[in-house]
Symmetry: C2
Subunit: 258 residues, 2 copies
Amino acid sequence: MIIASRKNQTVVKSRGLLAEKKLREKEGLIAAEGVKLCTEALDAGLKAEYAIVSEEAEKKFSELTERLRGVCQVYVVTQDIYFYLSQQKSPQGIFLALKLLDKSKNLDRILEKDKIILLDCIQDSGNLGTIIRTAEAFGIEGAVLSSDCADPYSPKTLRASMGSGFRLPICVSSSLEDTVIKLKEKGFEVYAAMLDETARRLGEFVFPKRCALVIGNEGHGVSQETAERCDKVYIPIRGAESLNAAVAAAVICYEMGK
Amino acid sequence: MIIASRKNQTVVKSRGLLAEKKLREKEGLIAAEGVKLCTEALDAGLKAEYAIVSEEAEKKFSELTERLRGVCQVYVVTQDIYFYLSQQKSPQGIFLALKLLDKSKNLDRILEKDKIILLDCIQDSGNLGTIIRTAEAFGIEGAVLSSDCADPYSPKTLRASMGSGFRLPICVSSSLEDTVIKLKEKGFEVYAAMLDETARRLGEFVFPKRCALVIGNEGHGVSQETAERCDKVYIPIRGAESLNAAVAAAVICYEMGK
């Protein structure tokens, strides 16, 4: 049966999952759209709860549709209904609801790694997703987010992360300062990306095997409480006053991963 | 006199300049909004045609308003009218129309420099602006854009470039392949950012004093016609399949500027 009503409960719920963080948390679900992201989620081993495909997508992406049918209930909807529930301008017609990753368990796992990124109040979802994607690409093994960061599992963040958000261990910390203290106890050197008189110039030293990088808010940088507990690293630039947060993270992660 | 009508000719025109590339080209004007961007434009020596400030901004940013009055006609509008003409969610209430830079003259200037970036069909304005900002920060001295790139002087690109778009010499080339040939005649080594069997690994060689980098489209990379005429450079990554175009540009420009 093809769903053609906007009032259908699955349609209503799915539209809500894409739009509202609160509903995602209440239901314990995240929502992915598109062939690439849904494939990445399955490849990463996330648990599928249910999927929705448009009539057209069912034919066009028959292989992925079959794969989805192997792991969860798949609902077929009309093109109109898919457009109604989707957040995208030109949707491919594939929606997947996944079990929310249990972020609380990740901190212990992350503390056992060697290369970590800490994100202090990164507010733009696009920046956050790009940083997660780039960090994974340069060999960073885990990300700790302050609780005032954008939602790492919002559709926009997931899209910018291009699947890295499903693979990189991520946890949300109620106190980034405390996380820095824990990391230092575990033998990490922790560098905040910022300029002060003690800051080391990127490229003029080698990062130790065990190290963490703190990237601060797009406007205000790293918060004082966290910065006080860290060494500092700066990127030498000229002309422009500053770099975009995702660009700064990229260049330092590139050096860390060397 | 405070303008309070949406039908006022200056209001209609300014709203159009923010929204439509065609109108910007017809009028030979570009449009900047906000304290930071308007200040950067004046500092960079662009010629102001006229400005619009909201009643509130006239008081709040009195110094900038005075500076604007020294160089061009300044119209004051009500808050409502400013919101109507603005493209921003929380506008500061400062609008500036500037003479469009004559991009055609810039190619000769750029060919005399040592470090250049070529952008092949970068379609996202945010990416384009971020690349321009980052390139300037890492000492790149000019940018050549293929004609199918996003508009370098759209409000979104200018915002992402954070003023670098007013300072970095930019030109639009009707044939990026021809530009590569010209650059090579001038003694440039030209590197396309892409992976093939001949590509050199970033970080394992030193860029020559005179060099150019080609960054390709977000989805399809560097076009074949252009790539054929270039050496290749790749960024070593793992896990993630690829990097965002602005991130790739940043990391290579960082190495070029070393």
